[in-house]
Amino acid sequence: MEVVLKNLTKEFVDRKGNKTVAVSNFDTVIPSGKLIGLLGPSGCGKSTTLYLIAGLHKASGGQIFFGDTDVTNLAPENRGIGLVFQNYALYPHMTVRQNIMFPLENMKLPRKEILDRTLQMAKLVDIDKYLDRKPKELSGGQQQRVAIARALVKMPKVLLLDEPLSNLDARLRLQTREEIKRIQRETGITTIFVTHDQEEAMSISDEIIVMSAGEMQQKQPPQEVYDDPANLFVAKFLGNPAINIFEGSIRSGVLFLGETKLDNSYEGEDRKVLVGIRPEAFIPDDKGQLEIVIAFIEHIGRDISIIGHAKGLESKTRIIIPAEHKHLQEGDTVRFNYRSKYVFEVDGKRIR
């Protein structure tokens, strides 16, 4: 079931009449059967968008389609969605089985079918051993699986997850995100999840939608979002450690970093620009274009992390190179080349 958002807008008006635009002109098609990650910092509107798709928020403008059906004005319980809340919202007084059964009981299905489906779903999320426990007896990861089972048991057209991994500790997060991916693959349900953690989004999504300040910044498979950011925001948001941003300039079509010539064939008038180079994109090269003075070296096992200073530039540079270069010392001046760079206008637009 594909989800189509057309010009979706959501405004909140507080008691004094002040308007906040949470989501603005969101326009996209979420393909059927895929796992999509809505990624962005706090307050960017991703949870709001999720709730709009769910129907818990009413759209201020625009439309939402599930397949061919316009669900914009449909109540949430009539859209055929399953929602996993950030805090799971498992009914504490019911057992796992009763929690999962609850949606089915409301649909007035025959008892046998209810029990069968519940068991089937519990097996799918691997929680069938705990069917008679109460939520508070389970770990965070287990509780979440119950929440997923409860959302899936009514065979929704779309599955929505609000920050599914934020409440888990680091070890569980890795485990659980694999689970989510597996469950999505096995059921084939169109799944949208919200997160602020780019590693999470990158690791399991078929496609990532990056959001900032209520607007969609980019929508593409993870590696492309990473390698080919649409704008400065996306470039800075993805990547750990974060991308290095340098102040550069274009003069007569030539790109300069300080006084170092990097590249030519740029169009447009002379102006200041921003150049982004990811830490792992640096390659030590005696004939490299960039001269870096090493201020600080960290050996972190597999890699070496260098903090240095590009000659002629003010900004700090962070570089990650494989550990074989361990001969480098603090104070050395080393020449580097780079695998790839991104150039942006000062307002963030990408210059390709």
């Binding site: 769910a54 818990l56 949430p76 319980e77 969605i81 399953g82 929602l83 809340f85 805090n87 919202a89 009914y91 504490p92 007084h93 019911m94 609850f102 949606p103 009981e105 409301n106 649909m107 409860r150 009514k154």
Partner: protein, 317 residues
Amino acid sequence: MIEDKRAGWKALIALAPAMAFLLLFMFFPLFNTLIMSFLERFRFKSGGGLFAWNQSFQSIGFGEYLNVLRNPQFLTALKNTFILVIVSVPISVSLSLLVAVALNKIKRLQGLFQTIFFLPYVTNTIALGMVFKVMFSTNNGLINTILKAIGMAPVAWLTDATAAGYWSALAVITIYTVWNGMAFKILVFLSGLQSIDKQYYQAAQLDNASRARVFWRITVPLLSPMIAYVIITSFIGAFKSYTDVIAVFGAGDQVYGPPGSPFMWITVVGFIYKSLKGGLMLPGSLARASAGSVILLIIILFFTVIQLWVSKKKVHY
């Protein structure tokens, strides 16, 4: 080591004021009253001091208990009290629960309603009891006027000394008790309802649950600790009925009924105080009152224990 010693000493000082009062007016009396109940034909002896066993009494035994249990007035009081409890507690608790749930669902005027519903709590029981007496007055009371206006026969609510009058008086007492008691219960329920995380309701909405299902499968279970607390305290309070009853008959602190049957609605506590009226000097009166209060204690403990046991099974914490 020094820490502990000092802390113990400090605690002694801090607790001393409260403990002094508690020892003298709570722990000692508990003990003393209990003992007194076993001292047959107990009588205060001047110069006997504080302790019951230093006073004058005939013998030790269950004599006074038997006096109480065989006393027809006590048995009436027992019956009356039980009826009051069985009738007033369910009505009071369920009505309050419904009001609280309704209050929780409306958006405007919540504050105004809350204030109105709370008014009975800040009133004087004796003062308002008289108001009810006047409202239910047989000749020209408000209630009878309304009944006549809609074509029904007036009722001698509080003045009928016959069997019918027993039940009409029960109605008035119950109405007054419920009127008085709702404030506290509504407040407790309301704050309980407001503490239920809205996400449960959102999840239930997404699961297509009907209003009734949401109420019975989610609201009530999540509210069950408050419900248990209110039921238990209401039970205990109803067992101790006294002021409500005399307030409604408004004829003095030993009048529990209409003229002609002043002990019609005597309660267990009423019986205890009636015994106390005998005073310190009347042989047995204090002991009888003590025995009565111990019996009351046993009844209350019994029912409370049962309720706690039930709540262990049905209440979800």
